[in-house]
């Protein structure tokens, strides 16, 4: 179990899909391997573990999302086994609070034999859903990419890659890839697309504004989607979004539902440390050179992420369909239980 926390700290995961997958598998193991008498105890166990996982990588919101999602599944299954509707578990109406026979303490305290199996099933189902999410997003490509369009993207996102490749099966279009210094993941994406016979152009980050007038759509991936519909995306995404906004080019964001998180920018904006990841400057400036006399007082920043405010985002495409950023709050309330917002 501790090995997993260590792996998280050492960033032994490959992108947010991989991370989400690992976290939920870890939680599934936890559910099956720990002893618990009733749903409340189980939720306590998951919460405790979840806190540690979140703390191991505070800037990876997906971890918290997965924990909350599993908690929600436990709640739903418990209520379903009691024979009540799923709606009942979610809504906390005044009427319900007054009429409910059981107090807050007694809630989820009944020990149900089938709970373990049903929860396990539900979690497995959810994992299947996650597995299919890239495919589900890519399946919508045809509706958004038309023939002879010029698409601009930045960096490398597996979802965007799958999306473009899916569209290329039916349509012919041109992709402009922004290289995304200093990581230059754009190069990898461009190579992959070109190998797939998609007409691809690579440009520097500074050329984004100049190229934007020719672009029909901007399609980007994201690290996570905040509760207000804003994005935490690869650094450079903000300038792309601004340029698209200036040229009135629609900005489409691809991301599976599990990237949607409860945090608002204002919650985390106070500390750059938890929102952003200021990596070692060695990608920007070689330490070899940086230590010499004239450069030793130069401050070098290497932020990994950009915040893209929701007003710059046109459409958010997830595995369950397209939504406007302003609708995010609604999706959130469906995904997570209000009592789980604070772990």
């Amino acid at each position: 179990m501790d090995q997993f926390i260590l792996d998280l700290k050492q960033e032994k995961f490959n992108g947010s899909y991989d991370l989400a997958y690992k976290v939920i598998n870890h939680l599934r193991k936890l559910i099956s391997q720990t002893r618990w008498a009733h749903a409340k105890e189980l939720m306590g166990v998951i919460r405790k573990e979840g806190k540690q996982l979140v703390a191991a990588q505070p800037s990876e919101y997906v971890i918290g999302n997965m924990v909350r999602r599993v908690l929600k599944i436990v709640r739903e299954e418990y209520v379903r086994l009691l024979g009540k509707s799923e709606e009942f578990a979610n809504t906390e109406s005044l009427h319900k609070m007054l009429t409910s026979a059981e107090t807050e303490d007694e809630k989820y305290m009944k020990s149900l034999k089938e709970l373990k199996t049903t929860v396990m099933e539900a979690v497995s189902e959810y994992i299947d859903e996650m597995d299919a999410s890239i495919h589900n997003i890519a399946a919508q490509a045809i509706e958004h990419i038309h023939s002879n369009e010029v698409i601009l993207t930045i960096g490398k996102s597996r979802t965007v890659e799958a999306f473009l490749k899916q569209a290329a099966k039916k349509r012919k279009f041109h992709v402009i890839v922004v290289e995304g210094a200093p990581l230059y993941h754009g190069h990898e994406l461009a190579a992959s697309l070109a190998a797939h016979n998609i007409e691809t152009t690579i440009i520097t980050d500074s050329a984004v504004f100049a190229m934007m007038s020719r672009v029909n759509k901007v399609i980007i991936g994201t690290h996570s989607v905040l509760a207000n519909g804003g994005l935490k995306a690869v650094s450079g995404a903000h300038i792309v979004a601004q340029a698209a906004y200036q040229h009135a080019v629609p900005l489409i964001v691809l991301g599976a539902m599990f990237k949607l998180c409860l945090l608002h920018y204002s919650d985390i904006g106070g500390s750059e440390a938890t929102f952003n990841r200021l990596a070692s400057p060695h990608r920007v400036l070689d330490y070899y050179k940086a230590g010499s006399q004239d450069l030793c007082n130069v401050q070098v920043y290497c932020p990994t992420f950009d915040y893209v405010p929701p007003e710059l985002v046109t459409l958010f495409i997830s595995n369950i369909g397209g939504n406007a950023p302003s609708y995010m709050y609604r999706l959130l309330s469906e995904m997570y239980h209000p009592n789980d917002h604070e772990l």
Partner: protein, 705 residues
């Protein structure tokens, strides 16, 4: 259940478990007197103990078992480890501490490893002051591949870090030049440049090898990290004179041809890897941590448990303890969530302020680290300085480029500048200016050779309320080069030093290039061995003289003395000629010491010579050794008139006792040496003329018959 799974994993990884040795002692006194009561590896670096960076780095590299060897202040290190996360069940790797006060060098540690035979497979050897975010996977794999090709030859891989010659992190102490094979990364020559060395010479042999290109690199600094094969500790045991890593590397490279061991190197390119081994590097590495080169080991990422530098202050740890307690603001300012900043205080840039520290009003802080529980009053200026825990700074003080340890109190209006070092619990001020002073307050003054009444602090130096002594370097018992280094402690003096060095370097480089192109005939090995030989000779002479003196006084059997002299001869690797000359000289000196009077001189000398007759016969069996002996006598005679006068009698005696043969004496006579002191060789010959004449006549008589 969880534990079950763990054991399964354990079984799987058993074969390939990676282990490391951390040497949590430097075996030198660079940080003295700060290190008087505190080990270097527990120095706070950006408010976290240095050792935690090293352990975290190893855990990140996938090391499963770490042995921490401690010596100086071992208890403190043990206490720290016992209460840190490393001894908790959740620890990512097992940490074992091995304590012994007997270790005096890295060599001792490795000999202990060999004795306990800790390792059967490759292991890492890491000094306890490494700060790095490198992944040693590549180095380990390279080493493994090389070892698979040949079990015995590749001995170890040095992990080096590339840094430009003008780099901040380079100091006089880590100035190295390495010649290596560009293809196989094999180290062919490793040279540490001494302080004032202007030429570097390479053995010619390395350029004559036929395989691959040879690279000579001056852009590398040693990280002290070794990937060792299990044979390494064994070699330390075999060669008990190896003290430091440098001894070992040199020894291996010199003996490479007939022992067949090879050293390879791995250069860390993208990652950060540095050591803290003096004040200057402490400054540089702290700076690098604040500038995030060591990411993810930066203050706001919580990699170490909330270990307070004052033991047990808040030892309890909740699950929330995992969350970071520092927040990062613009311009690399890291503030602990509990620290308090006064009104109008400016925290400019590159600052870390620790747990519970209070900063007064209108302060200005830049490029500094302020530890836990510090209290800084109004209107202070702190720049380029390091304040450890619980430091009190009263109002209107100025601290520039200084190093202030735990529990120091600085009174009003004190100005510290240009590399002041205030050790634990020192009080200074009020209103005093200190520049480049080291002030300590150690209860035990014997080690410093200062016998002082504890109450009599020199108030003119440390201020009216001051408590502490000025640390004087000249009472230091360190070796000369150490003293030179402590001069270049840190701050401006070192930059200047570097600059000087830099200009020297540029000329040096061109010089060394010339040397290389002309393929310098004499290697520096030779030069060194000559120097060594000189030392050895004087030591040898001393030893032989002592044993002969003792032999004479106690009337020891000459056979035993021969054995003793022979063993000294092998210990110092002396030639026969040296031995004979030394014996001749020693005997004469012994006799001279017995009688100062010129008249009784020969009598004592005769007695001495007769006593040692069997020894002399033993060493003067051949003609050439007899000749050597004669020249040795001559050499002694030119500077000692007393002996020169009685030389003829000595010759007679030795001739009669069959120590010297007549041919040799005649041969010696025909070829005068070039000695010149009080009298010349010619005069010597005149003095023994009669004896020679007598010899010649005797010979003629023989032939006549």
């Amino acid at each position: 259940m969880a534990p079950k799974k763990k054991t399964k994993e354990g079984n799987l990884q058993q074969e390939n478990i990676l282990e490391a040795v951390v040497i949590a002692d430097s075996f030198n006194v660079r940080f003295y007197p700060v290190t008087a009561k505190r080990p270097r590896c527990l120095f706070p670096l950006a408010n976290k103990p240095l050792l935690s960076y090293t352990l975290e780095f190893l855990a990140r590299c996938g090391v499963k078992h770490i042995f921490v060897y401690c010596c100086h202040c071992a208890e403190q290190i043990k206490d720290y480890l016992a209460q840190s996360k490393w001894s908790k069940p959740s620890s990512p790797c097992q940490v074992t501490t091995i304590v012994s006060c007997d270790f005096t060098s890295v060599g001792d540690v490795l000999r202990d490893i060999d004795q306990k035979s800790l390792f059967e497979s490759d292991f890492l050897l890491v000094p306890g002051d490494v700060v790095s975010n490198a992944q040693l996977k590549d180095a380990l794999n390279e080493h493994k591949v090389r070892r698979e090709k040949d079990r015995n030859i590749p001995l170890m891989t040095l992990v080096l870090h590339s840094s430009s010659p003008t780099h901040q992190s380079r100091t006089v102490e880590s100035d190295i030049v390495i010649a290596s094979n560009a293809v196989t990364n094999r180290v062919l020559h490793y040279h540490k440049i001494a302080d004032n060395e202007r030429k570097v010479q390479f053995p010619l042999g390395i350029f004559q090898s036929k395989e691959g290109r040879i690279e000579i690199r001056y852009d590398l600094s040693d990280t002290g990290i070794w990937v060792c094969s299990p044979q390494v500790p064994q070699l330390f045991t075999d060669n008990f004179d190896y003290q430091t890593q440098l001894d070992f590397i040199k020894g291996i490279l010199i003996n490479e041809e007939f022992l067949g061991n090879q050293i390879h190197m791995h250069v860390v390119q993208e990652h950060y890897c540095s050591r803290v081994y003096n004040f200057h590097t402490y400054d540089v590495v702290s700076h690098d941590v604040i500038f995030r080169w060591t990411y993810p080991f930066v203050p706001e990422i919580h990699f170490d448990d909330d270990y307070s530098m004052h033991h047990g202050a808040n030892g309890s740890l909740s699950t929330i303890g995992y969350t970071s307690s520092y927040s990062l603001l613009r311009h690399n300012v890291y503030l602990h969530n509990t620290c308090l900043l006064g009104q109008n205080s400016i925290v400019q840039d590159n600052v870390v302020i620790g747990n519970g520290s209070k900063i007064g009003n209108r302060c200005y802080i830049s490029n500094s680290v302020i530890g836990d529980g510090c209290c800084i009053e109004d209107d202070c200026i702190i720049e380029n300085s390091y304040l450890w825990s619980n430091v009190t700074v009263k109002s209107k003080s100025k601290i520039h480029s200084s190093f202030v340890c735990d529990d120091v109190s600085i009174h009003e209006g004190v100005v510290l500048s240009a590399g002041c070092i205030l050790c634990d619990k020192v009080l200074v001020g009020p209103s005093i200016e200190l520049e480049s002073k080291i002030i300590h307050k150690n209860g035990d003054d014997k080690t410093m050779g200062i016998v002082a009444d504890k109450q009599s602090f020199d108030t003119s130096l440390v201020g009216e309320n001051g408590e502490g002594y000025i640390w004087r370097k000249d009472v230091d018992v360190e070796a000369d080069n150490d003293r030179a280094l402590s001069k270049a402690l840190w701050g401006l003096s070192l930059h200047d030093h570097n600059k000087q060095k830099l200009t020297a370097d540029s000329s040096e480089e061109s010089n060394s290039e010339n040397d290389i192109s002309s393929a310098g005939e004499e290697s520096d090995f030779q030069e060194e061995s000559e120097e060594d030989a000189f030392d050895d000779l004087s030591n040898f002479e001393k030893e032989v003289k002592e044993s002969l003196q003792r032999g004479y006084e106690e009337k020891v059997q000459c056979d035993n003395l021969v054995l003793e002299v022979n063993s000294s001869k092998y210990a110092y690797n002396m030639s026969m000629r040296d031995v004979i000359q030394t014996i001749a000289k020693s005997l004469l000196e012994i006799a001279a010491a017995q009688s100062m009077d010129a008249t009784s001189y020969f009598a004592t000398l005769k007695e001495v010579l007769l006593h040692f007759l069997p020894l002399l016969c033993n060493y003067n069996k051949t003609a050439s050794s007899q000749l050597d002996y004669l020249y040795a006598l001559e050499e002694y005679a030119v500077s000692h008139v007393n002996f020169a006068n009685s030389l003829i009698k000595v010759f007679m005696l030795l001739y009669e006792e069959d120590v010297l043969s007549e041919e040799v004496i005649l041969h010696w006579n025909s070829k005068p040496g070039n000695y010149k002191d009080v009298i010349t060789s010619q005069e010597i010959r005149r003095k023994v003329e009669k004896f020679i004449q007598w010899l010649v006549e005797a010979e003629e008589e023989d032939s006549d018959e």
